[in-house]
Symmetry: C3
Subunit: 265 residues, 3 copies
């Protein structure tokens, strides 16, 4: 990936306005919907068992996020995921809090094995737990670095065939025998709730228009990091960061990407 491929995908999202179907958590529904709208995608949040298959049939991608999971919602995620697999649209899984409780760990592992997610995006602790390791998780915040979890991520990527996208100070995107590191971002970002979930939703928008899940995942993390850095420069704390972040997603120009993108493959 480079500035050209990222910009090309942003233009594709603007042009296609892909429908991204989210079954996600209560905390982040508003910010993830706003972030998707800001980049030109069309979000829909819908969890009723009775309608998820119909919505998946209209959608460009399906985002599953277990942040405030309960058994009926998991049932809907499974049904929607099976429909997405049948339709051939990419499933993006965010295993929020995997490792913190057995409900979360077993649910994330079940979604990974019963569905075929194109991309799994989480923090280092969550991905380590998903890989069967024992991370130092505390609730939904990671206490591991992406460096620590790299061997586990690599193994899980090989076993599962998924792209693994791990956010942290350095973002790590691993899959298909390749590794991309994204260095963009800002230290204030973990102090705002839902930015990880927003990264997952935006990954869904890129996956809807780019057939390579590796590129889609890397583009999403790079855009998040660049918009985050712009927002941090224009704000005075985590509160003013949020409106500036949505503005940065909305106003981003090719030159912002050319000047700021820091990736390594």
């Amino acid at each position: 990936m480079d500035a050209n491929t990222l910009w090309q995908d942003i233009e594709r999202i603007h042009a296609a306005a892909p429908l991204v179907h989210n079954i996600t958590n209560y905390v982040v529904m508003n910010i993830t919907a706003n972030a998707l709208l800001a980049i030109g995608a069309s979000p829909v949040m819908a969890h009723a068992l009775e309608e998820v298959e119909e919505l998946v049939a209209l959608a460009g991608s399906l985002v599953l996020n277990i942040g405030t999971l309960s058994p009926p919602w998991v049932q809907s995620m499974i049904r929607a995921g099976i429909a997405a697999n049948k339709c051939g649209i990419p499933v993006i899984l965010d295993p929020v809090g995997c490792g913190a409780t057995s409900l979360r760990t077993t649910t994330a592992q079940r979604l990974l094995s019963e569905l075929s997610p194109a991309i799994v995006r989480g923090n280092a602790s969550e991905i380590m737990a998903l890989a069967g390791g024992t991370p130092d998780t505390k609730g939904v915040d990671s206490t591991n670095s992406t460096e620590e979890c790299e061997p586990a991520v690599r193994e899980l990527a090989e076993q599962s065939g998924c792209i693994l996208s791990v956010s942290g100070a350095t973002d790590l995107i691993i899959g298909q025998g390749r590794t991309i590191r994204v260095f963009n971002g800002h230290p204030i970002m973990p102090r705002i709730t839902g930015l990880g979930c927003t990264a997952t939703a935006i990954t869904g928008a890129f996956a809807a228009i780019n057939p390579s899940p590796l590129q889609a995942a890397a583009h999403a993390m790079a855009l998040m990091g660049i918009a985050g850095a712009i927002a941090a420069e224009k704000s005075t704390g985590p509160g003013t960061f949020q409106p500036q972040f949505l503005d940065a997603l909305y106003n981003i120009q090719k030159k912002d990407i050319e000047q700021r993108l820091q990736v390594q493959e």
Copy 2:
């Protein structure tokens, strides 16, 4: 309607602080509650079957919004709506995503027929689907203009006896043999999630203090459009728009309305 009648209603809301009972979707609960507080109304969000009748009895209006519907919530909407009809308080229905899935279409049609909403507020695609047409809907965003849907809206208004309030580049309020067009607003507004739902909630506040649902619907759309234009001038994208929009609702003066109101009847 004119600037005087709109301002009079805003002052009534300030004075009466009507309780608006919302059974609404997860995505917009926060922004709609904040918008209602900003204009001086008193919002309550409550969906438990066990308490909706009691709350309706305290409320000035009932807002039903199917944005993240599931069968138990629909059951509560029905119970609350019947109670509202009995108490004689106005019901405002927002058929979010009507036309996108059969669950949404049948639920919206059921709420329209089993209850007697005073006002239905939606986008063009939703209202066309509610009228039995086949809109070009995509998820919850409209792909039809209010002009296209005008004949269907007129027919539905006659059949149902409701006021139909259709948001778009031009807002269309039809009912009781009358048609009001509101030209206020700003093109960035569809890029912020929940502004349609906010229009519905604010319609609820006006309906609580104005016995004419036609005027209430038109006043709400005009206030939304004027506050939206003010916010757009003070912001640099959809993120900074939101806080400015709530400030504009809170700070609006009679002269803002006099200078900006653009309506046609």
Copy 3:
């Protein structure tokens, strides 16, 4: 309490980043999570019956808020609360809308009697209703002053052994035979949804690191009031207040507290 004890607790939260487990309402999940992150705590929102005991075991405190209650969520609150009592971590109860419906009143009274909350935080109407009085409640907004409810609060504190923290123009913290009044705050604060719930969540963060629930409750109300006053100075209405409020929580300095704190014991 004084500026030194408050600042000491803020530093403790920064150092310990306590996990605060919230079973709370849909309207405020985002803002309360962001407020907890802004002060350096680590929020988790989780309501599934299957996982609440496991999360409580990791947490420093448990916040129960009935703002959009339904029977399954109450069941989870009970289970989590019993686990918290067993673990010896403090339970903070926010009886949102107590007095408005019998479901809310009986649920709040049940949570108070079946669990042993360390602190109950609500507005004057809610606390009067919880004490068995008949407040002038309207929905979830208080129509009583903290002065009016003081005798009822004092009695409830004695009967229950809880600390009662009542927010209003003057905040009243009563328990263990002591009374603390906090005069900080700003009149715009009731115009923003979820600030009461945010006070409760922040009370949870202080309770997680301070063994005195009286001090924890008073520190939380003082920090809320000071951050609210700072935010009000930097904003032009309830919309711009919110990002400024989170920034104020994040950026607060010892000198802000020394200059502004107004308490009486």
